[in-house]
Structure formats: structure tokens, C-alpha cells
Symmetry: C3
């Protein structure tokens, strides 16, 4: 509890520090974000020059912004980037002009359905400028002359991403990927970033995992496309993966499957979510959402699912100023971290074992593994033992057994470890895999 | 609407002209029927001599009938073939005799459950004669002497069937098969015949389909057996097929699957019926019904399903004088034609395409294929594009994609065509198949 | 009815004669039990010496018991083996001592939830002694001195099992296995033993089955382990199997699947149970219960399911003195026998046949196999014929056809036999298998 409270505070602090920064797909906002993460984990930073061809794409010019506002003719700032960086259409080209409301109007974006919230809008691949504001403010604007300023630069530079690799005993990798391009939106995706970094820290401080675990912090789409372009020949090492988003809100968990739909990561997530709460849900893949789109593309088909609480576009605060520091809590991020860790532990720990005494049941009693007094019903732990022995024929993994027996993976894993100690189980094709 | 009205009138007119003809598995009724169809479509007529061995069967003697009646001792016709050709047991041998009611009785067939309707009965393979009449009339017959006359011939002749082939770019065929052996029964199967001929006309007048489309008009069982016997070495070209029956009544649609149950025709029909109305249903194959029985036999296993509205034996008018000109409408036959056309378009248009930029998503924006303003939810058409790109890996056909994405096949097809135009998709193994 | 009454009486008599015997995993109780069965069926008796290594186990010392009691200081027997052999902890080592209630207490077992019943308890693999008694009696024991006597022997001897083999035309075997180690418990498993012996008698007296049918009567776990150890190289001949238990109580039937879950025996049992009563149920395998655990172990994977009425541990009388002669009836054992026989007949009679006239339907009428009068719905028997003809393509067995057509296996089998007679069907790869 105390440890959880500390973890909750740490996660919330990370989100709070990252919240004010104006991020985009390129620029210093991402660099500052990664620098803060680098205080927690040994992040390796990559800079990809503008103009670099990455898969079917090209890295765009780098965007930075110092200030932006709409002022009235008295010079009073009506819409002010310094108050909330969502006010600027992300990737706005510079503008410095005076114009009528009529000229300004096509550059203003609001949410008539949520009149008090500022929407989040971008224009990455079409040069444009604009402001986002509450609909209440928009409708209050009176005809007249407005001073419009976006003090941004859009010039050759770099796209920045960071990664940290926790070395495992296998070259096979588990990928945990979080997009880092959104400005002041807490749930989407500062929560995902903070939870990801916390898991990286836990794994770095814990025993060596079987799989190598890679944590990627990249701008959405173009950042991940850049990573894939630079890792095209080794990306196949990713045997299990997750994108993380919206892990601090109050919704139950949703896991979105890989395009194949029956990967180990899909089954591990379903196992954990079902045992966590009946309110959690597992949904099918669809080719929209976050960077699972890129990983699951037909040229890669990396089995990367997506873990979230609130679903992309399905809650009103999504991509609005409502996704602020009050929308997320540290306690909920701790829950998300624990659930994520359980999923990663399953995909990391899933193995195929072989019963070394497969002809009938081995005599457990002689080994002190069985209650001596017969004629009664069987304690649960012993049923787990019988399941593991029966299904450990080289074709069933521990997760297969947990699913078939409807027993928590962790119990199956611990039972298997005990049977391994007693010489009743061994890793299938054990020489090939370093345990 | 006007076009539909014209089509409806044309379909109803065809049924009206065919209605009075006394058809059977052989004889002039089938010839007259095919002659009327030949006014609409370039029908090739085949005549198979009686006694010809066809598979396990033999073509029977040809049956023709000029007149038939039961008269009372005053010479008044009580049951008269000229009033309704259902009155004669189809394939009755000639008879000309006077007899008591007691002697006549075993030759009379009625429907006690539907006392006003005349049943349709046949005796193709056992030489017999008989009369069908309403039960009301049957019970009113008083003991006495009756004059009984069937002026038929049953002699060596021919079995007649017709077919029309719409040439496609492939040798692979789509078969549309309708039985033409029933006498004055509108729904079963003048509606099927009329709808089939209308589709043939539309395809002949339209662009060349990918598949060759064959329309067969043959007497049930023995006619189809004859066709199969004469086309045994090429029947395997049929890759998709349908038998048509009962397409003018007021029931929702039923599609009966092929024996395999998961053929492309099964999936195409299910896709179209589900999107047409929740009242439509898809049922499993069973080895009874119409000529799908023969096509699905183990020696052929041609994937031929069956499309109908009212189901074989499941509505009271079935195989009775209730299946008359008031039981079918042109508007309903137009609906049937449209639905049939949609199914045929799917099986004809289903292809396997390959994404040519499969590493991540291609940059659609650069090609003008994507809304430029980000941060919002995705319009439906763009989701179709992402689905087609993601699943076009050579293993998923367009129908697979439509099913997986739950998008109408036509939208998927049109989206794929657009992506093909932009060089993002190409036919899998494109050289082998002429597009 | 009369035959059933006789059979019911015979089954109940067998149970009644076996009831008083004190059985265990070794000892004279099993020998006496098998001797009674040997009056009905030609049982071959096997004796396995104590200390014999069997798979991962070792045959234990042989246990026999002459008497046992707890007496008060006046010599009055309070708990008396002669009244009910459940009173002794099965496999108790000898004891002859006087002790306080406090010393005695850890050796006493009762059922506080069912205060009038004596539990059944064993201590096969840990040397111990003890008494089982009703909780009402237990709580009535007053402090004082007690005379405790178990007049048993636990010495090198043998483990005994019996088997009878009904020779078939194939070497492939059907196994019917019943545990014979329980003392005075009628349902579990005198009912299983009696029903098994009755089926063996019926098969011995009937026509030669296709499969060789083996009936095994062995002590649970160690007895079956011994049989498997002695038959390790030929056990693979078992193609279908069942363990029998609890076949005389009033519960509907439960069939427990093999670990594979889709063996022919699983499908045959599901077919029979579903057609017998909607109250019957089929449950998945779990690695506990009776000797199906051993047969389904990964080194053997013999497809052995389990047939029962009341389920292991799921009814209050289970493993208590409540499972007495009033808990079972002969009529229910007759039902069990009939159901078991139906299942065995399916797995024995399931064959793959091939339609010899597979091109379209054969002309059944010519062969007198079809009603001559057409135009009406089809009688059920003729639909069975069409199903058998359509699906007899070498890939569907008779059971596949029965399942697909939803027709009783026996109808499908009889229909296939008729078509075989008429030369329309033949055994697939018929030379290899003797019919």
C-alpha cells in the first residue's frame, strides 16, 4: 500500500511535469519530454533529419513554437497559447497579420457539443495555421479587426524518439510503445508514457527477463514509421507488443487485439483483463487508433495489441482540454502498471514444458507433492499440478494450460516451477532455448 | 423507379405467358416455355433422346397430353384438364374407360387440409394415371359410373433443356440454374425462370464479366442429370452456382448453403441477405429441394447454393393451385433480381489484391486520399481504405475484407479500385489471371 | 419389459452380493469380488507382486483385515468393523492398544455436515490407522480409556485385477474400465462393475463385434497403472474407451470427455446422451475423477471418457455410508446398460463408406428404394438415404453423417446397410479393413 502510494505519486508527478510542454511530431517539446523521462530510465535518443525517406513517408520539417495569440484591436489577448498550448492548431505555420473576423473564421476550431472545451487539432501534412478555442468563446467574438500571431518555425531539423532496452536472455523481444507527440493532454498520452517508464524502471531493477524488452517513445505515425524504417531488418524479433494509451482515466480496461487476433499477447491480455474485472473488455483489431496500425501492417505483421482504459474517441474529454490533470489519477495509473506488468510477465514467462513421467500420473505422494489422506475432494493447488502434468506434452504452453484449466497463469507458472524442481518437468527442446 | 416498374411489368408478363402451359420433365410444354424465353435471350436448345443413359439414369419416354377429364354419366366434365392442367397426375399414361367411383378412387388426389386447392402430383418413374382435384370436389362425388379419359402419349422422344452462356474473361463459370418442369405453378418455378432470364439479359447487355456466366433451364432432376452427363468433363469449371426457385412470393429471402457450407457463393449470399433485411435467413444444406442436390453430389461437389423466398414445402400454396398468378408480383421479382445480381457481382468481383506499400501505412495524404486535418475521428470511407490496405496481403480476398470490416462488398470493391488506380494495390499473382 | 425386469434383478443381485465385501487396492476383497464376477463372465485374473515397479509407482504391500473396533472400558464395541467396513480407515496398519480419547481423536474421521453418515477414507501411501464414524457418534464419545483394535495385515503379497476380452474382427480395441477398490459403496462403484459385466455378457453372447472389446476390473489408480505398465506396448490398440462409475443412482447421465475432447467416443456419447434426455450433460475433461486420468496421461493419450450418473463429489451420498443398497436400483442400472451399449455400438459400428454412384443422385426408384409418387414432401427414412448418399465420399463416417443430418446413428447405420446391399455403397479402402 505504501509502495503503491509512492508509485502513484511518482506517476502523477511525471504526468504533471510533462503536462505544460507543447509537443508535436517534431520539435523541442519531444526533446524536453524525453529529457524528463531520461531522469528515470537510461533513454537512448535518436534524431532523424527532416527529409529522410522512411518507408513510404518523409520526415517533415521540424516545428517549434514560441508564442501565439489572437488579440483584439486594444491588444488584449483573447486566445493565448501561453494559457493553453491546445489553442494553436498543432504544426501551424507562422502568421503575423491583422484581419477581419470573417477572414479569421476559417482558421478557428471549436466543439459546439462541448462549448467549454478547447479541441486538439493538427495539420501535419498540409501547411495551414489556426486556433482552437472553446465554442463559448468563439461565438462571443464580435466583428472587427483582430491581430493574429503564430510565432512558430517550420524548418529542416529532426524528428526525435527515444528507446530503452532491457536486455533479456533471448533475442526475442517484447515491445512497449507509447506515442509522445500530443501536447497538453494527460490521459492521451502522458499516462501511457509515465506507466511505460515505470515498467521499464521495474524491469531494469528486477531479475533479467527471458525476452529482451524494448520501450519506445516516439511521435505517433511518423515517429513509429521512422523507427520501423531504421529497424526494418530486426523488427521481426518483436514477438509480443503493446501500444499504451489513456491509462489514467476512470474507465475499465480495454485491450484491442492484434490483426491476427490470436497472438500470445492477445491471449495474455484477455487472461489478465478477464481475471481483473468483468467490466474490462477485449475488442477486435481495426486499422485505426494508435501505432498498432503500423506494427500490424501487412509488411510487418508484428503482433502488437493496444492497452487502454478509455477508448480512442469514445469519451468526451478525448482530444480536448478536458483531458487535463484532473482527469487522471496516480492510483489508476498504478492499477494500469500492475495490469501491464501481469501481461508482460505472461508473454515473457510462457513456455512449453514436457512431463518427464508421462506414463500415467507420477506418484506425487512419494515426492511430498500430494495430500496423503485419500477419499476426499482435491485442494485447488493439487488440481493445478494435475493439469500441468497432463497437458505438458510439448504442445501446450503454460498459458494454454492456464486457459484450459481456468487457473491464473501465475498459479500455473508457480506449479510448473515446483514440478521442474522435483524433476517432473523440463523445458521442451530445452537445449535450444536458454531457459 | 420507372426502370424498376418496367422490369416488374416485363417479369410479370413473362410469368403470365408461361403460366397456362402444361410442362413436365419432357414434352412440348418445355419446348414452348423455352421458345418464349428465346424471345428474350439467345437460348441454345438441347434435345436428348429417350433411352439415353445419363449418369445412373435413363431419359424416359416423352410425355405429351392433349386433353383429360372425368365426366359423369351425362357426359358433363366434372374434372377438366382444360380448366387447370394440375388436374392431371403429371406423366399419366393414357386411359379411356368407364368405371365406378370405387375403381376411380385410388386414382384421385386431393388435399384434405386445404379443401379448395388442387394439389400438384407426378408419377414420372412408375406408370400410372390419375387426377388431382380439390377435396371439396372429391367428397362431393357420388357413387355411380364415371367416364375417365386421359388423352396423353408416352413414347420415345426427347428431353429438352436450354442454356445461354454469357462469355467472361475467365473460363471459370458461374451457374444459374432453374427447373422448368412444373406446370401451372407461378412461384415454383416461373418466377425463378423469369428472374434468371432477366439477369441473363442484363449481363448480355452490360460489360463483360470476369467469369463466364451460364444460365441453365432444365427439367428438375432428370434434366439436370442430363446436363451433368453431357458436361461431365467440364462441370468443374463451375466455381459458383445457384439454383433459383420461388422468387415472386411475399416471404423474406432464404439462401440454402452448398454442402460444403463455406463456399464463396455461401459467403456472398449471406453478406447480401444480411445487409438486405434482418428477416432474411441462411439455412444449411440438406440433400432435398431442387437441383442443388445433383450439383452437390459427391462425384461433382459443385458449390451450388439455392436462392428462394418461400421455402420448399413450407408454405401452404406450395405445389397447389394456390401458386397462381395472384401469388406472385413483378415488384417482388424485381427485388429478387436485384438481390441475385448483387450476389453474382460479388462472386464475380471477388479478388485477392496485394498492398504494394505494405511496410506501415502508405502516406495517403500525399496522394490526396486522406483528409488533411488530423485529431478527429475518421470518416467511414477512409476506414474502408485502411482496412483494404491492411488486409491486402494476398491471403484475404475483397469479400474477406468486407466480412472482417463489416463494410458492404461494393464499398470495399470501389475502395480497392481507387487504391489500384493510385498504384497502391495490384492483383495477387496478377499475370496468371486476366484481371 | 420382462427381459428388462430380469436384467434389473440380475444387476441388483450382483450389487447386493458384492456390497458386504471389504475391498481395497489390494487384498482378498478384490479377489472375492472378481470371483463373483467370474460366475458371469470368463474373467482372467492377474496377480502383481508387491514391490513390482509399475510406471512411476510401486505395487504396495497387500492389505487384509479380519476385524476392527473401538470398545469402551466395559469391552462394549462402540465402533465395529463388522457392522460396516467403512468404519476402518482403508489400509489401516494393525493396532492393538488402550488410549485416552485425546490420543484417539486424531485417528477419528466424521462428516460434521452429514452427522448421521460414516465417511469413506483411505490412507494408501502413508502408514496410518484410523476409524470413520458418524459425527453424531463422534461427539457423543466421552473422555475415558478406549480399547482400540485393528486386526489387519499389511505385508508383501499381490495386487489383483481381472479382465475379459471379447474378440472382434479388428485388433483395434474398445476398453470398458471399472475400479474395484471401493468397499461397501454401491453406486461407486458396484453399479459400474455390475453394468460392465452385464455388457460383457451381452457381447459374448451376441454377434462378433468389429472391435475387440476389453473389460477391465482393476483397483483405482495403482491397479490401472499396473495394467498400463503390463500392457504398455499394446495399449495403443485402444481406440475408444470409457471408465464407468455411479451408474445406479437417480441422477441424469453425465459424460466426461477425453482430454482431446473430440474423439469418436466423445461424439458417440454426446450423440446418445442428447437423444436420451435433455437433462443429460457432457462435461469437459479435467485431470481428476477416476482412471480416465491415467489413460489420458500424455504418455498414453488413450481416448477414454467417463460415463456416470451422479458426479464425483457432487452428491451428498458420495463416499459415505449413504451410498448403500437403497441408493441404487436395478431399473436405473438397466437404463445405464442400454445407454452404454448404444455408445459402444456407435464406436464399434462407425465406418467410412463410399457412394459408388456419386455423380448426381442414383435412381433410387428403379431399385425400389424410393416412393414412386412425386410432388410431396419426403418421408424421413428417404431423407436419411439422401444424406448417406451425399456424404459418403470417404471423408465422412456414419457418425459424421448422423451428426450432420441430425438423425439417430442407428437409422443412419441401417440405411447405409440397405444401400450397401443394393450395391450403392462400399467400405472406403475396403480391402484394408475386414468390414
Amino acid at each position: 500500500m505504501a509502495a503503491d502510494d509512492t508509485q502513484a505519486q511518482r506517476l502523477y508527478d511525471t504526468v504533471s511535469r510533462l503536462y505544460p510542454i507543447c509537443r508535436s511530431v517534431t520539435g523541442n517539446g519531444v526533446r524536453e519530454t524525453l529529457a524528463i523521462l531520461a531522469e528515470q530510465i537510461p533513454l537512448e535518443i535518436h534524431e532523424v533529419p527532416s527529409g529522410t525517406a522512411v518507408l513510404d513517408w518523409e520526415v517533415p520539417d521540424e516545428w517549434n513554437i514560441a508564442d501565439a495569440y489572437i488579440a483584439d484591436d486594444s491588444g488584449r489577448r483573447l486566445v493565448d497559447f501561453r494559457a493553453c498550448n491546445l489553442h494553436v492548431l498543432n504544426y501551424s505555420v507562422p502568421v503575423d497579420a491583422e484581419m477581419s473576423l470573417e477572414e479569421l473564421r476559417p482558421h478557428l476550431f471549436s466543439l459546439p457539443d462541448q462549448p467549454d472545451r478547447i479541441p486538439y487539432r493538427t495539420s501535419y501534412y498540409e501547411r495551414n495555421w489556426g486556433f482552437c478555442l472553446s465554442d463559448r468563446q468563439l461565438v462571443s467574438l464580435t466583428p472587427g479587426r483582430y491581430r493574429v500571431r503564430v510565432d512558430s518555425t517550420l524548418e529542416p531539423g529532426h524528428l526525435t524518439y527515444g528507446e530503452v532496452v532491457v536486455p533479456g536472455r533471448l533475442d526475442d523481444e517484447i515491445l512497449v510503445s507509447s506515442h509522445v507527440c500530443h501536447p497538453s493532454l494527460c490521459d492521451d498520452n502522458l499516462s501511457g508514457i509515465a506507466v511505460s517508464a515505470a515498467l521499464a524502471r521495474l524491469l531494469l531493477d528486477g531479475p533479467t527477463p527471458r525476452h529482451t524488452v524494448r520501450f519506445l517513445y516516439a511521435p505517433g505515425t511518423i515517429g513509429t514509421i521512422s523507427w520501423l524504417a531504421h529497424n526494418r531488418s530486426t523488427a521481426h524479433r518483436i514477438r509480443h507488443g503493446l501500444t499504451l494509451t489513456c491509462l489514467g482515466d476512470a474507465h475499465p480496461f480495454t485491450y484491442k487485439r492484434t490483426v491476427g487476433g490470436d497472438a500470445v499477447i492477445d491471449r495474455a491480455a484477455a487472461h489478465v483483463l478477464a481475471r481483473d474485472s468483468a467490466a474490462n473488455q477485449v475488442i477486435d483489431f481495426f486499422p485505426y487508433g494508435y501505432d498498432e496500425r503500423q506494427y500490424n501492417a501487412p509488411g510487418f505483421r508484428l503482433p502488437v495489441g493496444s492497452l487502454m482504459r478509455g477508448r480512442h474517441g469514445q469519451f468526451p474529454e478525448y482530444h480536448t482540454s478536458g483531458d487535463d490533470l484532473s482527469f487522471v489519477t496516480g492510483a489508476r495509473m498504478v492499477q494500469s502498471l500492475e495490469l501491464l506488468r501481469s501481461i508482460v510477465e505472461i508473454v515473457d514467462g510462457d513456455r512449453h514444458l514436457v512431463n518427464l513421467e508421462p506414463f500415467g500420473e507420477p506418484q506425487l505422494g512419494r515426492r511430498g507433492l500430494y495430500g496423503a489422506l485419500g477419499g476426499q475432494n482435491l485442494p485447488d493447488g493439487q488440481l493445478a499440478m494435475l493439469w500441468v502434468l497432463n497437458l505438458s506434452d510439448g504442445t501446450h504452453s503454460l498459458l494454454d494450460i492456464a486457459e484450459r484449466a481456468d487457473i491464473a497463469f501465475e498459479s500455473v507458472r508457480a506449479t510448473a516451477a515446483l514440478l521442474e524442481e522435483h524433476g517432473l518437468l523440463a523445458e521442451a527442446g530445452g537445449d535450444a532455448l536458454p531457459g
